[in-house]
């Protein structure tokens, strides 16, 4: 949870969940550092191209921060809106598959019946970690693909918290 990563620095001021944390105490630790931005960009493959974007992120975090005003002591966190539903168990029969042709049509590049991994750092990385597929998780720290997502608006929309409605800012 990326929000949690940002709030690491807020631990000192946010010891308990009671009451509204004072604005003064919050202000300093709310700053989003350059390393954090880099970290988030690598993890989530988003592009914080400018200072405006960072400022917008900080505002979004501050807005969501108001959730902490709610006293949740002794309340079990809800993990899923499906918590009262039954988890359906499927019998162990083979009913799908055998559609390689169809699936491969989705891929930009195909070699025989294999998907070709998208070009970029991921592929270059594979050259260096030759034959050891278990290194995948470590390799992700080097994947740095720029995508042009309007993160701020997405955040606003999903949080449904922005009283001004979704903004159409370009980063």
């Amino acid at each position: 949870m990326w929000a949690r990563a940002v709030w690491l620095g807020l631990r000192a001021s946010a010891g308990g969940r009671r009451g509204f944390p004072s604005k003064a105490a919050h202000q300093g630790s709310r700053r989003v550092t350059a390393e954090l931005i880099e970290h988030l960009e690598r993890l989530a493959l988003v592009d914080f191209g400018s200072q405006e974007a960072v400022a917008r992120l900080e505002k979004a975090i501050a807005f969501a921060d108001r959730l902490r005003a709610v006293d949740t002591d002794g309340v079990e966190p809800m993990e899923s809106v499906l918590e009262d539903r039954c988890l359906y168990l499927r019998s162990d029969n083979v009913v799908e598959g055998n559609c390689a042709e169809e699936l491969l049509q989705n891929s930009h590049r195909v070699v025989e019946e294999y998907f070709v991994a998208p070009p970029g750092p991921a592929s270059c990385l594979m050259e260096e970690v030759l034959g050891t597929e278990n290194m995948r998780e470590e390799a992700t720290s080097f994947i740095y693909v720029k995508s042009h997502q309007d993160l701020g608006s997405l955040l606003h929309q999903s949080l449904l918290l922005n009283p001004e409605g979704p903004q159409n800012h370009k980063f």
Partner: protein, 517 residues
């Protein structure tokens, strides 16, 4: 002694780094020669001083190593964990992939009942507490063979926790000195496997095969209760046998059905634990102990030389026989765990809590599964020892080879010879013969009946043991045993070839180096 020697005493869980020149001579490599000789040379460690007539140098103290394991076992099921595509090792690329496995938008996970049963059975076999409610989470990271960008696992509340695994290691020189150790099982969780990435060197590109993507895995996390490679290998071996006995996984390391990652650190006894490194890519039973021991030695050497251990991930290079760092400049990976929003909690029941009128297909009864658990290797071995009076290490040897136990039991059924004799024959002569010919038990030209017959003859002292050994070793086509040499006349007509066919009229003689009346 002129050469510096690395010795350690596994049973005492102490690692002694002792050398004439101190640590500096060892540099980066590990004198693998000393590894094996060191172990074999130790009989009863407590009494024997490690280096005779040499006082430990100033500053040299004992080291203790701590090894924890994360084992991934592929569940033996027909279809995958969350989709209905087939689980198979060898199939045309991307032919066993459903829309969900390819992570096409709009697809949802549907849990496979068999995988849940496999997890519960494994948990019961390892004496775990089965969580009546367990949850699924998403573990996010980007990689070409993970089309969804996340793996569905059980990080917060796994299906089974707090168990234990008993295994045996041999201390001392002889196989006969075995002790039982226990390692705690921290948790067992269900998770998805990823696809396979193959690197095409020629065209410098990565090819992805998603046949394996979505296959159910059991992740068994073992507590850091082990102290050397041998213990770790023994624990993994026992787990392998348990999984195979339960039928929950074929646990074949060569086919990638069982994968092991090790967490290793060293420290001085009495002091806090050291920084640990994770060693991945341990996919061979043979190299498991070696890799772990290498890493322990590397850490000891590093610390003895005044260096520091980084909390990093390393990989074992089979060709070089050493661990190499995997580039990890960013420190710990942040997987951004979040609850899997498409799956409600997994609820399990027992006979006391079964909801009335529930569809049996939709409900999993832990007590029912417990009743249906197959016999565990530990129990089988105990039975063998009790029933046939064999030594514990013999029971281990019988279970260690695929098909050998069944062969042994079939011979016992048909022969009049004493069980001890049968045991000795099967484990020494027969198994030795197979190994020499590089055959599996299933490929043996000697059938249980034939061996039983042979042992009967031996029992009646009709033939000598050396003759019998020779008879067994001579094989012909069609599984028949051709027995050469002198045979007392009154036995000739009674001699049959394996398979029960008598070959009339053929002079059969037995070579008899020690003529018997």
């Amino acid at each position: 002694m002129a050469t510096p020697m690395l010795r350690w005493c596994c049973p005492g869980r102490r690692w002694i780094f002792a050398g004439i020149g101190g640590g500096s001579r060892h540099g980066r490599g590990v004198p693998t020669g000393s590894t094996s000789s060191g172990k074999k040379g130790q009989s009863s460690v407590a009494q024997q001083p490690l280096i005779t007539a040499q006082k430990p140098r100033k500053g040299e103290r004992e080291w203790a190593a701590v090894v924890g394991l994360e084992i991934h076992a592929q569940i033996a099921s027909n279809s995958k964990l969350f989709s209905g595509s087939q689980v198979d090792f060898a199939a045309p690329p991307n032919s066993l992939v459903s829309f969900f496995d390819a992570s096409l938008p709009g697809t949802l996970p549907v849990l496979n009942r068999r995988c849940v049963e496999a997890a519960v059975m494994t948990g019961l076999a390892l004496d775990c507490h089965i969580n009546r409610k367990s949850l699924f989470d998403r573990k996010h990271y980007f990689y070409a063979d993970l089309p969804a960008g996340y793996q569905i696992t059980q990080q917060r509340l796994p299906i089974a926790v707090n168990g234990s695994l008993a295994y045996s290691v041999c201390v001392g020189k002889r196989w006969s000195q075995m002790v039982t150790r226990t390692v705690g099982v921290k948790q067992i969780q269900l998770e998805q496997d990823s696809g396979k990435s193959l690197h095409d060197n020629l065209r410098s590109q990565t090819l992805i095969d998603l046949n394996r993507a979505g296959v159910g895995l059991l992740e068994v996390v073992l507590e850091p209760d082990m102290s050397c490679g041998e213990e770790a290998a023994a624990a993994v071996r026992e787990l392998q046998l348990i999984l195979q006995a339960l039928g929950t996984s074929q646990a074949n390391m060569a086919e990638g059905q069982l994968r092991v990652d090790a967490n290793i650190s060293v420290h001085h006894p009495g002091e806090p634990l050291g920084v640990r490194t994770e060693v991945k890519n341990l996919n061979s039973a043979r190299f498991l102990a070696k890799a772990i021991d290498y890493e322990i030695q590397r850490q000891i050497s590093e610390l003895e030389n005044g260096g520091k251990i980084l909390n990093e991930t390393r990989s074992f290079d089979y060709k070089l026989g050493c661990t190499v760092p995997m580039r990890d400049k960013e420190g710990k990976q942040d997987y951004r765990f979040m609850p899997e929003p498409n799956l409600p909690p997994l609820l399990l029941y027992d006979s006391g809590s079964l909801p009335t009128g529930a569809d049996p297909q939709q409900v999993i009864d832990i007590d029912q599964l417990r009743e249906r658990l197959p016999e565990l290797p530990r129990v089988t071995r105990e039975k063998l020892v009790r029933q046939y009076g064999m030594l514990p290490e013999h029971s281990f040897a019988l279970l260690n080879e695929v098909g050998l136990l069944e062969f042994f039991q079939n011979v016992i059924k048909e022969t009049r010879a004493e069980p001890k004799k049968v045991t000795s024959w099967v484990l020494n002569t027969f198994l030795g013969f197979l190994k020499q010919q590089n055959l599996a038990v299933s490929e043996s030209p000697v059938t249980p009946s034939a061996l039983a017959e042979l042992l009967d003859l031996l029992d009646r002292k009709a033939i000598s043991s050396s003759a019998a050994k020779q008879a067994q070793c001579v094989k012909t086509r069609k599984n028949s045993i051709l027995i050469k040499g002198g045979l007392p006349p009154h036995l000739q007509p009674h001699l049959t070839v394996s398979g029960g066919r008598k070959v009339p009229g053929t002079q059969r003689t037995l070579t008899n180096k020690h003529p018997e009346g």
